[in-house]
């Protein structure tokens, strides 16, 4: 019995409703957070920052956002790339127009702008459902990318059509631009992601989250019970786009430093985030993180193993990597269709019973 939840009695409803009702879980999470905030910044270097930690945080944010929409509210969206672009371009315009504005506020404002766009593109969901909706959301993906390509105002008429993040500082230390130290960008993203992960958790465990899940599980019944579908769906689109917009802003300003709509926000991104939440676990905050970790770290890991250790030629390794990732995705889905988060839950249940089989 490695994992126990017995002996952990609740005496009030508020104790029962805590974020991590089980003491062991709570300690583990606090431990991880302490490590991430207090230890990692001292160990981090450029490689870890740019290849592992920032991508993970950025995609975790996007996955949180899409999970709210798809995992919790059941509306499959393939417009993520487009919404990330909105966040990135909003961030760029804000950074250039208000150089003095605090970067946290810039990112959050970029999220809010994306939320508004998200609501507009969410309107069809009132009528269209399932895969029809999923495909229809590609309209926003293609349209937004086209728009940011076409209208020079968005990229400040630069000759190249690229946007580049100018340097901005926080407490006198640069957070964007090439001079930003790795620990700074990392802490910036980590803070945002941590705060908004808790907010996401709060949202999904309360009234709003339940109305999303009701719509997801059975929309007609939900409406008859008293969940207004319009409000529920659009609020999901808004909140989800808010997160995705922030992740787009982070991707552009902190992680990459410059962006172009086709390369950085193409349809591949929409799919990537969708993979993350499915592999991680639909309707699970933890799953968003696990999925993001899986799909950002796995390729790096595979590459390092195949090229770094085995010394295989890069092209063979690249093709094999595709093949292996595909195989792993299928394997995990066969083992546990409900994602890594569910796998984790089942493992915990088993550990709790261990060493007895049932």
């Amino acid at each position: 019995m490695f994992y126990r939840e017995s002996g952990d009695f609740k005496t009030s409803y508020s104790a029962d409703q805590q974020t991590f009702p089980i003491r062991l879980d709570r300690h583990v999470v606090y431990g991880i957070l302490a490590f991430a905030f207090l230890v990692v910044p001292f160990l981090i270097n450029d490689y870890w920052e740019k290849s592992v930690l920032l991508p993970f945080l950025v995609w975790a944010m996007a996955a949180l956002g899409l999970n709210i929409l798809t995992g919790f509210c059941g509306q499959v969206s393939l417009g993520t790339g487009g919404f990330m672009a909105v966040g990135a371009y909003a961030c760029y315009k804000l950074m250039v127009a208000f150089p003095w504005l605090n970067m946290f506020i810039v990112v959050i404002l970029a999220g809010l702008i994306t939320a508004m766009v998200g609501v507009v593109f969410g309107l069809p969901s009132l009528r269209i459902k399932g895969f029809y909706l999923a495909v229809a959301t590609l309209a926003s993906q293609f349209f937004l990318v086209w728009l940011f390509n076409k209208v020079p105002w968005f990229y400040n008429y630069s000759a190249s059509g690229m946007i580049s993040a100018p340097e901005r500082t926080l407490f006198g230390i640069p957070v964007t631009g090439a001079e930003a130290p790795p620990w700074m960008t990392y802490l910036f993203c980590l803070t945002l992601v941590t705060i908004f992960a808790f907010i996401a958790h709060n949202l999904v465990r309360g009234r709003i989250g339940r109305s999303w899940m009701a719509i997801r599980d059975m929309d007609i019944a939900a409406e008859i019970i008293g969940v207004p579908p319009l409000k529920a769906k659009l609020s999901a689109f808004a909140v989800s786009s808010f997160y995705i917009g922030m992740s787009g802003a982070m991707l552009f300003a902190l992680y990459l430093g410059s962006a172009e709509p086709n390369d950085s926000f193409g349809i591949a991104k929409s799919f990537l985030v969708l993979f993350m939440i499915i592999i991680g676990g639909l309707g699970s905050i933890l799953g968003s993180f696990l999925g993001a970790a899986f799909l950002t770290l796995m390729p790096v890991l595979l590459k390092n193993i195949m090229v770094g250790w085995f010394g295989w030629p890069a092209d063979l390794a690249a093709h094999l990597e595709l093949l292996l990732i595909g195989a792993l995705i299928m394997f995990f889905l066969i083992v546990e269709p409900h994602g890594l988060a569910q796998l984790w839950r089942v493992t915990k249940e088993r550990l709790r019973l261990w060493p007895f089989p049932h």
């Binding site: 009234r207 109305s211 008859i224």
Partner: protein, 266 residues
């Protein structure tokens, strides 16, 4: 105005009245010119053969189907065109014939969703959680816990409802409808798929709700024993038409009803 039943419950004014409802799907006439009323505090049964239009009637009342003709009056007012969730907000809760629980959620969350019409903190407070959102949550949790105790489903509080056996799902669904604290409760075959013992329990719950909270209940059920024992008045539908309407005894002895529905055994 109020009349008393034999066992002393108060039956009040007309709570809901449907007038001349006609509902057709393409060529299929599900309901033809149906009128009846439901009085405050009573248990009203709707019976009839399969495909008679009983569920459709409930769907009309809860605003999911929009009849081609006819009116629905609730609490003395004619109801305009309304979305189902607005109907729910007026105080009508229901269960479904084919269980319509939210499969991905736990029993507790399903019941809490039942209270959604009464919860109001805005999204910012929800995001913050501490403060109004948490207070509201706890207040409602207490009410829901009472229903959980009442239905005896404490043990499955945190179980995802998808894995529950059929009968328990039915019970959870009843709980979800009860959680709404509605004026009018519409139950579509709440006891299908239950054995005698469970039916007895279910009857107990329905009677208690009716007696303790004075909730008005409209009930569809095929088990005649239950219908005859529980209901104050029964309306009989037969392929879209109203066949009879009256007390259980009147209906039971109506030859048309025996012919169309009950069969000779009863």
């Amino acid at each position: 105005m109020a009349e008393l039943t034999q066992d002393g419950r108060k039956i009040g004014d007309i709570l809901l009245e449907v007038k001349n409802i006609t509902l057709a799907f393409g060529g299929v006439k599900a309901l033809t010119n149906i009128s009846f009323d439901i009085k405050e505090g009573e248990i009203r049964a709707i019976i009839g053969p399969n495909g008679a239009g009983k569920s459709s009637m409930l769907n009309v009342i809860s605003g999911f189907y929009h009849p081609q003709q006819g009116e629905v009056w609730f609490r003395g007012q004619k109801r305009g065109p309304m979305r189902p969730y607005e109907v729910a907000r007026q105080g009508i809760a229901r269960t479904f014939q084919n269980i319509a629980l939210f499969k991905g959620m736990s029993t507790l969350d399903n019941l809490m969703t039942g209270r959604i019409t009464q919860m109001h903190t805005n999204i910012l407070w929800q995001a913050l959680w501490k403060g109004p959102a948490e207070r509201e949550e706890i207040a409602h949790r207490e009410k829901v816990e009472r229903i959980i105790d009442f239905l005896g489903i404490q043990a499955i509080r945190k179980t995802p409802v998808g894995r529950l056996p059929y009968g328990l799902q039915k019970r959870v669904e009843l709980g979800r409808a009860l959680a709404a604290e509605a004026k009018l409760l519409l139950l579509d075959e709440p006891m299908a798929g239950m054995n005698l013992e469970e039916k007895e329990d279910m009857c107990r719950f329905i009677l208690d709700v009716n007696e303790e909270f004075g909730t008005t209940i409209a009930l569809i059920e095929h088990d005649m024993g239950v219908v005859m024992d529980l209901s104050d008045r029964v309306v009989v539908l037969d392929y879209g038409k109203k066949l009879a309407d009256g007390t259980p005894n009147e209906v039971r002895n109506d030859p048309a009803v025996i012919e169309a529905y009950l069969g000779v055994g009863h």
